[in-house]
Subunit: 390 residues, 2 copies
């Protein structure tokens, strides 16, 4: 065998073992070198060398003596939550939010800027200035990278925004642009997919199910699909793009130009428009939620109808994938039980009862930071092989 | 460490390496021991020992001297196509078919028995007698096992038929019953899932795509979903159960008791009923196909409408999974272009154009034996780790 592949293999093995050790420390929270050797199957010498590098890198710290298991008390190791920091962004519908996140998913600092209808290059400049403000204020540790949750059709393998109608972005190499400007690794994911990752790792989907569908309903609708413990992207990275699927006859024209997309009958935008046409006091999401809370019949019938339309789509997800857990997240969660009830009723009616009976449809943790934390989690997995968890 | 797990690990490693060697020979068709060592990364001694066992087992044979690569001409090895045989069954809608299949997926002998409305225990007895007739006529090599493609909701992990309305089977432990009776390993899979495996391995889906959806349309409708090169089962083994999903309003009552399932608007059964109500000459699938071929307008409008309804379901599959290849198989393939055209038109209209443009919807190989070959393929993978291919 030639020398080059041999050496490359050595380096790969070393990098692989480095990640193996880091992950074992991270997942165990606190652990001794002896335990690490047992957990990873590496020799004590290898473990000591690899830990030495992680200590030098300030990714890991010694925390003192742990309980003895026979001999003298071992020195315990822990991943330094502040050994690196990440920037997570949520390019939301009405505002762009960003946060500095530590290696345990704690939010250190947060910034939010209203979008105010900006799109195209203006919206891109807003992304830059948001990152600028987060970078500049940061004192301490090295920046690991930037994770971005964006609306629309995203190719997360390349970081390209294939199409985001709301922002008038088409074939925008967002990941590459941000990477070149800030000189750190960047991961871009669809907002629903980021939300799915966040719900899987520290959300309400307890027990880390193998398969999980997270449906995000706000002004748009999208799904993040976790299969066999992994985010499923599809051939063109568009898996979960249910918002622009037409499930039945419709009359309203969608932002995408077609008529009858799920977004035109089941999104918050559709509900606000429909309720507003019959009740002038409903002008935005807040007033719709307030009207519903007051027990207004118009608001209720609009919300129930929209929930039922979403139920048709979810029945199709159940029939296609037979996944036992479906979580609903996003602004529509504020609509509460009348909406959830309508979704569940229709999904159960339209899917094969044998399958629907096994599927739990629930509200997700509903955390405001779910998209930026999910994007941060994807970056951590990408860069350090760590699976963000509290 | 205790002795038992140590030994178990050794045995596991040996079995794993045995499969590794067998698979390498199978996939390469003909290969020398030296090449095997290179392909598998095992030592020459290990390879020689493992090959020795495979020769003793009559799974592998020596075929003579191959081309020299420097030294003397090496002895070539090949998997004996007739080293084992399998029984593959297709529990079809109007007939149960079975075949003896060799290790290369060649059909050695074939039997078919009309179902004639039998269900419940009568249908089960028919399965037994079909296998009996295949077993008794077989002379030569050992029987590796039995692969069964069955309609309905099948848990292929346990071999249980959870629900097959056509056969009035509910919670029938088919796999276990056949296994106990014939004393060989048995795999049971849903017919659409078996068809998907067959299309992936030796069908029209050239280049072995990573992701593939096979939709089978006959009296019923079901899909087999291949994701990341593997059959995706879902949490309750019901993935692909689209036939009993309701995609829109409907009037007809389904075999399952509900109203408006996809089967009631898009299956061959639905087409025959609808066309027959308007044209008494249409009484079954053949006469519908004949009427369509004659250019009959009623037949055409019924077929186009049914194709369009299937297109709605396929648009949803595309939106959910963004899979680039969708193959249509089963009796409806006989309807040809008018039907395929309607399916494609509606699927493209109802899915996001950006995704739909990338998806090819085509007729599958349409092989009559696709279900029994797929079931045989699953058994081979299960028992020998081999992926059936020609």
């Amino acid at each position: 065998m030639a020398t080059l592949p041999e050496r490359a293999t050595h380096q790969r093995t070393r990098a692989f073992n480095q990640q193996l050790v880091l992950r074992a420390i991270y997942d165990r929270n606190e652990v001794s070198r002896a335990e690490l050797a047992r957990l990873t199957g590496l020799t004590r010498t290898s473990v000591s060398n690899l830990v030495g590098e992680l200590l030098d890198d300030r990714l890991v710290e010694e925390t003192g003596r742990g309980p003895s298991t026979g001999g003298k008390q071992p020195i315990m190791l822990r991943v330094r939550a502040d050994g690196r920091h990440l920037i997570g962004l949520d390019l939301g519908e009405s505002a762009f939010s960003g946060a500095i996140v530590d290696l345990r998913g704690n939010i250190v600092r947060r910034v939010s800027v209203p979008l105010e209808g900006r799109d195209g290059d203006d919206a891109l400049q807003l992304v830059y200035s948001l990152i600028d403000s987060l970078v500049s204020g940061n004192g301490a540790s090295p920046l690991l990278g930037i994770g971005i949750g964006a609306p629309g059709l995203i190719d997360s393998r390349t970081g390209d925004v294939r199409w985001a109608v709301n922002l008038a972005w088409e074939r925008l190499p967002l990941g590459q642009l941000v990477e070149e400007r800030f000189g750190v690794p960047v991961v871009v994911a669809n907002d629903s997919q980021a939300a799915a990752v966040a719900e899987l790792t520290f959300g309400s989907a307890s027990g880390r199910p193998e398969n999980l569908i997270v449906v995000r309903v706000g002004r748009g609708i999208g799904a993040g699909i976790i299969l066999n413990g992994q985010l499923f992207h599809g051939d063109g990275a568009g898996a979960g793009e249910i918002g622009h699927t037409i499930y039945g006859p419709g009359r309203e024209r969608c932002r995408c130009g077609r008529i009858g997309c799920l977004e035109t009958v089941a999104s918050m935008r559709a509900m606000v428009a429909l309720a507003g046409a019959r009740d002038p006091s409903v002008t935005d999401e807040q007033s719709l939620v307030a009207s519903l809370a007051r027990g207004d019949k118009t608001a209720r019938s609009v919300v129930v109808h929209a929930g039922s339309m979403l139920g048709v789509a979810i029945a199709s997800l159940i029939g296609t994938l037979n996944v036992d857990r479906v979580l609903l997240v996003g602004p529509a969660v504020a609509l509460g039980d009348p909406w959830l009830g309508a979704v569940k009723t229709r999904a159960r009616a339209n899917a094969l009862p044998l399958l629907a009976d096994e599927t739990r449809i629930e509200m997700g943790a509903g955390h405001d930071d779910v998209v930026l934390l999910g994007a941060s989690g994807l970056l951590m997995t990408h860069e350090l092989g760590l699976s963000l968890a509290r």
